[in-house]
């Protein structure tokens, strides 16, 4: 939809004239006035006391003039009429992508005070449509409707000019979450508490290289010794010729908390405190240390089932040679199910 399409559609709404007169649901009545003055805290007696109203020069109780619009509000669950210009213009701008709304001006003129028993109708016309304008909220269009309230005799008792800004909320920068400093977890859990540019990175030795290569490949690898037993942390593979990689099995990634500590101090670069370090007994029988994430530190329990997660940190363009890297961590084994709301 082009700007001209919007202006043309607005002109069609104008050309078709205002909405039909719609009756307020109830006559002007004392109970609604009573509710209103109590809620607003207005103690002016001319709205509730006949003698006071007469003493002030009225012919009896009058309704607060600022209630003009209240008498024709549609009520809970009501729908706008098809010919209502505010609804029609809203639809046009919604379709063009200006989906958010904020009212900017409301100007009411009161030609006479209403009294209990009066009945009013409302009709609305579309006045000016201005746009597109750049605003603090985003690009948008201002449009103005004018309402007329008439009494039973057809005389206008009040009118209102109502201006709305319909705007396109600025698109959330899709890249912002994936920027250079942001990390992603393999599970989809948030990693917004870690700053990969400041954290200590794994230092791989010849003996542990297979393990960290595995982490980068999202595998948890457990060293297999000469006799077939599993070992973690890895030992120097003295039984193998130099230069040959150690044997390993890929763990299922599932285990239970064998022990844990909650680290409150001192500060650790790139991490927020406190965090939980868990010693996890893997299904394969070895125990492995790592951060347990996505838990309340006070609620960690021995025996709690956990599973591995992998945290991928992007490269750091501000520091030469700082390549993308990966860390493993634990998360509650039922966490994924719990977090799907």
């Amino acid at each position: 939809m082009t700007d001209q399409d919007i202006l043309d559609a607005a002109q069609r709404v104008r050309d078709e004239g205002g909405s039909a007169r719609r009756k307020g649901r109830d006559p002007i009545n004392q109970p609604m006035v009573n509710n209103w003055v109590e809620a607003i805290g207005d103690r002016n007696p001319i709205y509730v006391d006949d003698a006071a109203a007469r003493a002030a020069g009225h012919d009896g109780i009058v309704a607060p003039p600022a209630m003009a619009q209240v008498w024709t509000m549609r009520g809970l669950g009501a729908v706008r009429e098809a010919d209502d210009p505010l609804g029609r213009m809203t639809d046009i701008l919604n379709e063009a992508g200006f989906t958010s709304v904020v009212a900017t001006d409301c100007n009411q003129v009161y030609h006479r005070y209403l009294r209990p028993g009066d009945e009013v109708t409302i009709e609305s016309v579309l006045e000016d449509v201005v746009g597109p304008k750049k605003t603090g909220l985003g690009e948008g269009w201002f449009f103005t409707t004018r309402n007329y309230w008439r009494d039973a005799a057809g005389d206008i008792v009040a009118e209102m000019e109502f201006r709305i800004l319909k705007f396109r909320p600025p698109a959330k920068d899709a890249g912002a979450q994936d920027g250079p400093a942001a990390a992603r977890s393999a599970s989809g859990d948030p990693v917004d508490d870690l700053d990969g540019t400041k954290m200590m990175r794994p230092q791989a030795s010849r003996d542990t290289e297979f393990f960290w290569d595995g982490v980068a490949a999202h595998e948890l690898r457990i060293q297999k010794l000469e006799d077939g037993t599993l070992q973690h942390p890895p030992l120097p593979a003295l039984w193998k010729p130099k230069g040959e990689t150690t044997d390993y099995v890929v763990a299922s990634g599932r285990g239970t908390v064998y022990s844990h500590v909650v680290h409150h101090a001192p500060k650790v670069p790139g991490r927020q405190l406190p965090f939980v370090i868990a010693l996890v007994e893997l299904e394969e029988g070895v125990r492995m240390l790592g951060e347990l994430r996505g838990v309340d530190p006070d609620a960690v329990a021995i025996g709690q089932p956990v599973e591995v997660d992998f945290l991928d940190f992007p490269d750091d363009p501000d520091a030469s040679g700082r390549e993308a890297w990966t860390l493993y961590a634990w998360r509650p084994a039922d966490g994924a199910a719990k977090e799907k709301r």
Binding site: I40, D42, M73, C106
Partner: protein, 152 residues
């Protein structure tokens, strides 16, 4: 109990008004009760005025006061000062920052002009912690009894 005869004191004479007069300040606590009660009393059932969860889903910090209530408060603020014989002719509101639950609105006002015809123009402002919520111009006659039939 003996029946009492209701006695209504005649309304106080409206204050003498000249441009530059300052209205006494009025503070309104934006309690959830106030926001919900006034939204429903103005027959405004938009969820952002009574349902914090929905207001937050729609990007607001909390539920907030509706426009019909703002208009009502400006009217109350002006007649609290002008008295029972005042007749309000118009209220123009420019809406600024929202007025969220638990914030307090402070209304202040100044007489802008007094016309030869007795029409008084006031500048009224309602400010909260975020800034100006209401910037308003109100016109009124101070003594509606003087022109019965026009305003009454």
């Amino acid at each position: 109990m003996s029946p009492s005869i209701p006695v209504v004191a005649p309304p106080a004479a409206p204050p003498a008004v000249v441009a530059g007069d300052v209205l006494p300040e009025l503070k309104i606590e934006g309690t959830p009760t106030f926001i919900v009660a006034s939204a429903l009393a103005t027959r405004d059932f938009e969820d952002v005025h009574h349902d914090r969860d929905r207001a937050q889903q729609r990007g607001s910090k909390d539920m907030f006061v509706n426009i019909l209530t703002d208009t009502g408060l400006v009217q109350r603020y002006v007649t609290d000062w002008a008295g029972q014989r005042a007749v309000i002719r118009s209220i123009s509101l420019r809406l600024g920052v929202p007025w969220y639950a638990y914030d307090t609105l402070t209304l202040t006002g100044t007489v802008e002009s007094v016309g030869d015809d007795g029409l008084v123009t006031l500048a009224v402002t309602g400010a909260d912690a975020l800034g100006k919520h209401i910037t308003s111009t109100v016109t009124l006659v101070m003594d509606g009894t003087a022109e019965k039939g026009a305003g009454a």
